[in-house]
Amino acid sequence: MTILLNQVCYRTLHLPNSWLLSTYESIGGYSTWKKILVEKTPPAELLEKLKVSSLRGRGGAGFPTAMKWSFIKPESPGPKYLLCNADEGEPGTCKDRDILRFNPHQLIEGMCIGAYIMGIPFGYIYTRGEFKEPIARVDAAIEEARKAGYLGDNLFNSGFSFQLEQTIGAGAYICGEETALMESLEGKKGQPRFKPPFPANVGLYGKPTTINNVETFASVPVILEKGPEWFLGLGKPNNGGTKIFCVSGHVNKPGNYEVPLGTPFKTLLELAGGMKDGKKLKAVIPGGSSMPVLPADIIMECDMDYDSLQKAGSALGSGAVIVMNEDTCMVKALERLSHFYEEESCGQCTPCREGTGWLARLVSRIEKGDAIMSDIDTLQRAAKNIEGRTICAFGEAAAWPVGGFLKHFREEFEYHVKNKKCKTT
């Protein structure tokens, strides 16, 4: 089976110095942006195209982009902000890093077009602080775009102005949550805000704000250049276009693969070189560490798209595909994930601050063989008691892995309790 690889966000990756303006322009980059400015395309027309493309947010939640962008009207006065969430950190996910490093101009062009559609004069790219190389590339790209007249005042005499800056984080997973990111950008601890009000009404500095993931913005120029039907045609209805999957773990060729949505998992696994050392597939977390794990027999029948994975009891999430072979201890895997959520809970809501500690301690006890059988039910209950009781979705992110692991691999947890050792060793 031949598969179309790297058609959208990664379309420059095969080129030398793919991050330079000259490279991006050589494949038609910024031509869409320039055409919009010169022709003064009505924003509503562009928004309609995005709607037809059925582009959904690529950060994890899958919210329809055109709908999000319709919440902020271009004609409404006053300051407004456009933010790009480049605080990539969901365990297993590293797709945005390669857009930032290797194709930063396409992200910038996507943000320019978004700013035009919503009439937003100012934007920030919030990049995680650890990303030294991506930060440098984005800074250089912004500078190049400014000098070339793609960013700045009265662009191509259109009367439209858009200023863009990069700002950086300092190590906090929670800042990938949109309102925590805004708090962080305001120079505070990254603790999520209550919603409502939603960012479209009260966002950064209390002003209307739209925030999207790197991959979402970077998809926009190609959608408008090649047409929404082309993009939609790459995927399936309601699951249009392409998605980058970060395949990590026990495979021969771990990597970021941008493929049409709806690509069968089997095909993706083949692209990633198949299972390492000829081992058997045991389980896959298909959408980043916060999404429920799926056992081999279920994932092997799944297509990699929003609907198929949801039907299977998990979710597409950020597109991080974590592959585990037959030797993997599921208790140990959950122990590591639970430790992560305990570490990264921002501490604002009691059920999450205390609950993530409970989860981590309980799983650790089971892993070490110090647990009693009822601890497994306590673990399940503790997870349930976090879900839905917190300000942001971090609570669910911490609880869902527990639910997934216990649903499909409970027997392994029981084995640990009974035999004080692991079934896989």
């Binding site: 950190g89 996910t93 602080g129 990303f131 190389e133 190590g171 120079g187 026990h250 771990p254 140990k332």
Partner: protein, 161 residues
Amino acid sequence: MTVSLLDPEVCAEIDRWVAKYPPDRKQSAVISALHTVQNHHQGWISRELLDAVADYLEMPKIAVYEVASFYSMFDLNEVGQYKINVCTNISCMLTGAEEMVKHFEKRLGIKVGETTPDGKFTLREVECLAACVCAPVCEINRDYHEALTPEKIDKILEELK
């Protein structure tokens, strides 16, 4: 007002950050200011320097302490010249992070969380660095090292000695 502990070079860099935000939103530059200060002062930020940042950005001291203690990249105690942060999260764990941590411990003669007696290396476990398809991964000061093996670690440490 006392003489600031921040040297002109640091102040100039903070000013560049401040200019990115609206004029009445200087506080937005605090994270970048702390990065700047940390980079210029042996990789960690003393209480006096936190206070100096607060003065410079006209923020209450407590607001700067809050930020500095919330984000994992800021060190508020003395650290080694090289901070070795090994990711042990799921994708790295599946590809041998535990072995890499042990190898670092063996080579450096310290445990995770410790600093070598000569003050050269601090070894830590960190959460996901978002380079999962290149696992196992570590970060030394601000540079990523990918697809680690014990041999690769030996080579890296040799170069830093």
